[in-house]
């Protein structure tokens, strides 16, 4: 079976105007990546750039404990009592255990995609507490780090009901849209050139990317949307605000691509 060239697939996926079922989109991308990255099992895509570089794998393994202080501090915030006696833990089923794997979620009542950060702030707001700045590593980063750790090992299980499909589709379109002064799309690097080296660093494929957030960089938790904003800036594009519909929908699309891969949160990074 001959596969289309990466640029041709890129163009086809980007130009598709009908609402392709999400599962079909995911399967197409996985199939392409299997052909493009022979010898790398799909499960290892979750290692990101380290899937393609043994030195990076060793470094990540050696620094596995980097997350411990961040997660510990996140646990403190998670269990801290609000003025009304409740806590973040009380806002989520099972105290937050095994929940992060289903985010982002589509909220049918609000008709919005809700990320973990939004759900955390919804909890704070509903209990009269000050909300966290979504990009603040000292609060939101730590809480997300702890909450995601409660789902380590769980398979990503993002659902896209029919009512949410347009939002998934917007995320897909944005992922494939050229943006900014450098005219890159997310897919330019992470799909078209997955596994190749940009500078000295292999480019991680989109499947598996959403499993390991937040990452721990310089002792701070960096969430997926913070990283996306950094990428957009380096592309010479004005980054969408954290919590914007655009970033939420890209995160929705991207996380769906990692469905069935286990979460391994808070991995160390120095890149």
């Amino acid at each position: 079976m001959r596969f289309p060239s990466a640029p041709a697939l890129f163009a086809a996926l980007a130009a598709s105007t009908c609402l392709a079922a999400p599962i079909g989109t995911r399967e197409e991308i996985v199939t392409r990546l299997r052909a493009q990255l022979p010898g790398v099992p799909v499960a290892e895509y979750a290692l990101g750039a380290a899937a393609f570089d043994t030195d990076l794998r060793e470094q990540v393994a050696q620094n596995a404990a980097a997350a411990d202080p961040v997660v510990a501090e996140g646990k403190v915030l998670w269990n801290a009592r609000f003025k009304d006696g409740r806590s973040l833990a009380g806002c989520f089923p099972n105290g937050g255990r095994r929940v992060a794997a289903t985010y982002p979620q589509y909220d049918g009542k609000l008709k919005r995609v809700i990320t973990l950060e939004m759900a955390i702030n919804q909890c704070l707001r509903s209990h009269g507490e000050a909300t966290y700045e979504p990009t603040d590593a000292a609060t939101m980063g730590k809480v997300v780090a702890y909450m995601r750790s409660l789902s380590d090992g769980r398979k990503v299980a993002v659902r896209v009901p029919a009512a949410a499909q347009e939002r998934f589709e917007q995320g897909r379109r944005l992922y494939f849209s050229r943006m900014g002064q450098r005219n890159y799309a997310c897919a330019s690097c992470h799909l078209q050139n997955a596994g190749k080296r940009y500078g000295d660093l292999p480019l991680s494929p989109p499947v598996g990317q959403a499993t390991h957030w937040p990452v721990i960089r310089d002792g701070r938790a960096v969430t997926l949307q913070v990283r996306m904003r950094q990428c957009l800036e380096s592309m010479g594009a004005a980054p969408f605000p954290a919590g914007s519909e655009e970033l939420n929908h890209i995160e929705y699309f991207l996380t769906y691509l990692s469905n069935d891969l286990p979460i391994k949160s808070n991995v160390w990074r120095n890149w």
Binding site: P7, F10, Q181, R182, N183, S188, Q192, G199, D200, S234
Partner: protein, 114 residues
């Protein structure tokens, strides 16, 4: 003694020739992340001082550059999407990532690669 002097002179001459032929380091427009950042995607096999593992774009070597010619190199840097709409190479000229002088410096550098 005269033989020794001759040999010394010969060695000095050889060294001078070797230094003259060593490929010079790429210009700032090639290496700076804020400018072309060409080095992020392209290797320069003929320039040991600029060794990288980048492989998003093809390796840049003198014979290929001279086959393109200065005008061809300039066109690619200015707007590679004209020849290949699917390329991930940025349109450095069209999107004003690089100015005329920077593109000129890159054209001359690439055209002279070993």
């Amino acid at each position: 003694m005269r033989l020794a002097s001759f040999l010394l002179l010969l060695a000095a001459l050889c060294n001078t020739v070797a230094v003259a032929q060593a490929p010079r380091a790429p210009p700032d427009a090639f290496t700076s992340a804020e400018k072309g950042n060409c080095i992020a995607c392209h290797q320069l096999p003929g320039v040991p001082a600029a060794r990288t593992r980048s492989d998003v774009g093809p390796a840049l070597e003198g014979p290929r550059m001279r086959a393109l010619g200065r005008a061809g190199i300039r066109d690619v840097i200015e707007d590679p999407t004209r020849a290949n709409p699917q390329t991930v190479m940025p349109p450095f000229g069209r999107h004003q990532l690089l100015d005329r002088a920077q593109i000129d410096s890159l054209v001359e550098y690439l055209h002279a690669l070993p």
